[in-house]
């Protein structure tokens, strides 16, 4: 598309200067792009648009709530033009959130990681409508969502409206979790949205400028230049590392007298930072931070954030400590948004913390509502719940006794339906399911009790998926794929056997494929944990990080901008203007 736009602009410029037209044609032909010099109302484009309009009446209404990783990946991959798609989100853009810590200090500009959702969906061959609003209520009975505009300016009163749906895709993400710690909302900065990152950037500069004023005492300087990061997860660690680089590479030169006063503290309630990573990475990170002078305090639980100090309870001593600070960044995990909470109450999911879906990302209890990304978790079905049904399915003749080989027919379905089975096999280093059954008994025949025994440990392998961009993006792609083949799979179901019912499931359940995870540690060093527990730490991983993050950008525009930002930082450093 960028190529098309380039040609279009070029053509406009060249048309106004006819003498150069010849050159344009030569360039275009040699580049194989002559067809691209057509204006927007070309017959090809109009044909698609017309088809879209005429078919409006029969189209199924799909409403997508949210333009984050899950929603955008769903929209990007949705190809079936037989849907009428409406998007509702308070943000009219998609943000590449893994680069937010880089935005907090200007390694990357905020504009470089966002892409308007309209320009993402504009490339569709069918019409997609976007409404900048937040959904505040989901009415499952009438299949409606209630929305209102989030704008706060002089454009007039609050706009409210409803949107009807046939299918609802909830991809609203989560909010920062304060664990009800007093003062967090008032005094701490979160790091979830682009605006948060911009605000943090301004506040860091504010702290340095304020500490430069002649009326500020030495003690006060130390307080103002004490940056506290709460939460030792990947975001908190990356932010602390980036801030350290910013201070040492750029600010130290502009504020030479303040460098000695700067202190960065990372508070973690657990025993180690980066505890979801391999032990080697944790150790490396803790050692590097110690060398860099970043103060990592583990076993430190924040109890209160006041205007100028943060109170923690130290697990080792049981004492309450009060630490003066200049800025606090709160990055301890995510919580459920109020509207999702309300929705959960409405559909009877009252005793859960997060919205539960089945393995096909359908909200439990709602056939036509899907939830993906950080706002939901998959409630993986236990093998033990269905164990009798599975046994009966294999036991076609209802004998109560089965040879191990009799299971052959249903093995594939079992493995597909219950992903924990495969994880268990891998862990036990078993070649296949039959071995698991055989291992349990030398005897080749199983009854229901022995079958239960063989599978008894399988369910312990069940784990919730992490709340990462990677999971959300894969879920979006998966769901779009299901929507694309909805009609086909209705006729020819491709999923596993329904053990409790008849026939097969329409689709294969969602299966997450972990591609690895990065933890940038500053100083052009990154820790990478790749599939197969392959760990790489150092400068080479930083280059891997650069290439992966560049390749994962949503558009050529953001890719170009992000890469040129990196280059710009390398040559000119980061900007410290307070804007």
């Amino acid at each position: 598309m960028s190529g098309y736009r380039f040609y279009e602009r070029a053509s406009r410029a060249y048309y106004s200067n006819p003498r150069l037209y010849q050159l344009l044609v030569v360039c275009s032909v040699s580049g194989g792009g002559l067809l691209a010099i057509s204006d927007q109302n070309s017959p090809i484009r109009s044909a698609f648009a017309d088809a879209g309009y005429n078919a409006d009446i029969k189209k199924k209404k799909v409403v997508v709530l949210g333009t984050g990783w899950a929603g955008t990946s769903f929209l990007k991959n949705l190809k079936d033009p037989s849907y009428d798609v409406k998007i509702v989100s308070p943000r009219n853009y998609f943000a590449f959130t893994p680069l937010l810590p880089s935005v907090t200090n200007g390694t990357v500009e905020s504009r470089s990681i966002v892409e308007p959702i309209r320009s993402i969906v504009r490339k569709k061959k069918f019409d997609v409508y976007f409404k900048e609003a937040e959904c505040y209520k989901i009415d499952t009975e009438n299949r409606k969502v209630y929305c209102r505009s989030t704008q706060q300016n002089n454009l007039g009163g609050v706009e409210e409206f409803t949107v009807d749906y046939d299918y609802l895709v909830i991809a609203m993400g989560a909010r920062s979790n304060t664990f009800n710690t007093p003062g967090v909302v008032e005094h701490a900065h979160f790091l979830k949205e682009v605006e948060d990152a911009q605000r943090i950037r301004r506040t860091v500069i504010d702290c340095f400028e304020r500490a430069s004023l002649p009326s500020v005492s030495e003690e006060e300087k130390k307080r103002i230049l004490h940056f506290v990061v709460v939460g030792g997860g990947p975001t908190g660690v990356e932010f602390a590392a980036e801030l350290h680089d910013f201070v040492n590479e750029d600010l130290a030169k502009l504020y030479p007298k303040l460098k000695e006063h700067v202190r960065i503290t990372l508070l973690e309630a657990g025993d180690h930072i980066l505890n979801m990573f391999d032990k080697r990475i944790t150790v490396f990170a803790e050692e590097k931070f110690a060398r860099d002078g970043i103060d990592v305090k583990v076993g430190s639980m924040v109890t209160k954030v006041a205007e100028k100090e943060i109170c923690t309870k130290e697990r080792s001593t049981g004492q309450t400590v009060s630490i003066p600070y200049g800025m606090v960044v709160w990055s301890t995990g995510i919580g459920t948004r109020p509207v999702v909470m309300d929705f959960m109450k409405q559909i009877g999911q009252t005793n859960r913390r997060v919205l539960a879906t089945d393995e096909w990302l359908r909200v439990e209890g709602c056939d036509n509502i899907y939830a993906l990304g950080d706002c939901a978790t998959i409630n993986q079905r236990k093998v033990m719940e269905d164990i009798s049904a599975i046994f009966s399915k294999a036991d076609k003749n209802n004998t109560g006794h089965l040879k191990v080989d009799d299971f052959k027919e249903v093995i594939k379905d079992i493995c597909e339906r219950y992903p924990q089975v495969e994880i268990h096999l891998k862990k036990k280093q078993l070649k296949n399911f039959l071995q698991l059954l055989k291992n349990s008994d030398a005897n080749d025949e199983l009854n229901i009790e022995k079958f239960k025994l063989a599978l008894s440990e399988v369910d312990t392998q069940m784990k919730n998926l992490p709340a990462t961009a990677q999971v959300a993006a894969q879920q979006g792609t998966y769901l779009a794929d299901c929507f694309n083949r909805m009609e086909l799979c209705e006729k020819y179901p491709e999923g596993p056997l329904r053990f409790r019912g008849t026939g097969r499931h329409r689709f294969r359940p969602f299966r997450y494929k972990h591609l690895g995870q990065f933890a940038p540690l500053g100083g052009e060093q990154t820790a990478a944990q790749l599939p197969g527990d392959w760990v790489s730490i150092g400068h080479s991983s930083q280059w891997l990080w650069y290439s992966v993050y560049a390749s994962k950008q949503v558009s050529w525009r953001t890719r170009y901008l992000v890469v040129s930002d990196w280059g710009r930082r390398f040559v000119f450093g980061r900007d410290s203007s307070r804007i």
Copy 2:
């Protein structure tokens, strides 16, 4: 310096990878830059710094208020290390304001036109201190300025302090002038600061998003998408043109159904837009805007801005008209800041609208206070005020009668002291001053009355300098030059004769050199009025505009960013994410 930083970064990267060190040496030697690979504590740098510190006691204290065009250009050109310089400004950066209209719609990013003042003055060989604060009072008696921090966050109470000065340079700029029109401050956007431009950009997107909501009526859509620009000066005209381009080149594609509703109106109280330009430019601009569909209303005086409508009085009909709008941008001229007003009262300049300085930029009535840029005007001395003194100076023997040739000795001084003389000569197409005297009388002898008659029309040529970046920058350079040669010129004054006193003025008075002015009109067309009334309109001027604006950037970083922003816009268009 950017070269130095590049090497420094490169050296850091290469040191950690010793195998590449050889390559670095080769590159550096071939580039002649080996010396650049030294760290910040190199002996050369330290020597300067030490010299600075030791000499602190005798140093004259210079306080600069403001980091706009005037202040920054003064600081950039100040080279004499015998001053102790302190800068006080609420903005810790310099902004390239002529590109603000481009920032309002993302042709150029806001970050690309700002440069931290600390990084500008860091290149000095002496210490310059910056304080992010606003000056709220000038105490001329005790030679002190009272300052306070402008930060509004949780960093603690209001910081107040005073700064002593020996020389004070007031370069605080001006504020937008509302002419006390009710509702302007509450409902209109100004376009003076970077934050204003960012806010306008967000509001334009807000208008489009709001108009896209299903609950908004057709009439309301028209109102929301009506953009009103008040003031037909270069800023207002450029903003209207840029907005038109943004809507037509970028937003029309993303909001195809809204394009027909968009309306841009330019209100001008005078008879024509761009009335400070050549008539040809005005006509071209008005015709181009008419073709583009930008509604130019001349003779339209805004009387009130309400929440959703703007009221104007039409000069032609005398009627009051009320126009519904979505966004108003107010760009009608500048007014004096309250702190400058207070200062004027204090020094007795009570019956003036703007702070007056003499031709050496010294505030009238204050020997050690200078004012430059938009906050002051030069109160050009009239020839007629000094006419007797001039005559006496030439009439060495006190005869009361002088031959024209007797003036030869003082001609240079007269022309230097009273710039209006040269303008008058040029206008009358006279070769030199003697001709002016000769013209007045065939007789070769003059008495005081005839001399007065000859010069009687000269003072009508006096004009205030326009409030432009060009004037401010030239004044800053001029004043820095004076400061650099203060001691030298004290001994060997280089200015014109003091007609009313004895001896000579220390410095030549400030003389503005007009280098031309641009008025970008959108669609890659710019009107340029160059010295000698040379007018150029069209695409070629646009390229001239690009090159001038690129070359005038304050640093290589901003130059690179601005140019790459232009390129990015050409290829990818402007971003419409609401951040």
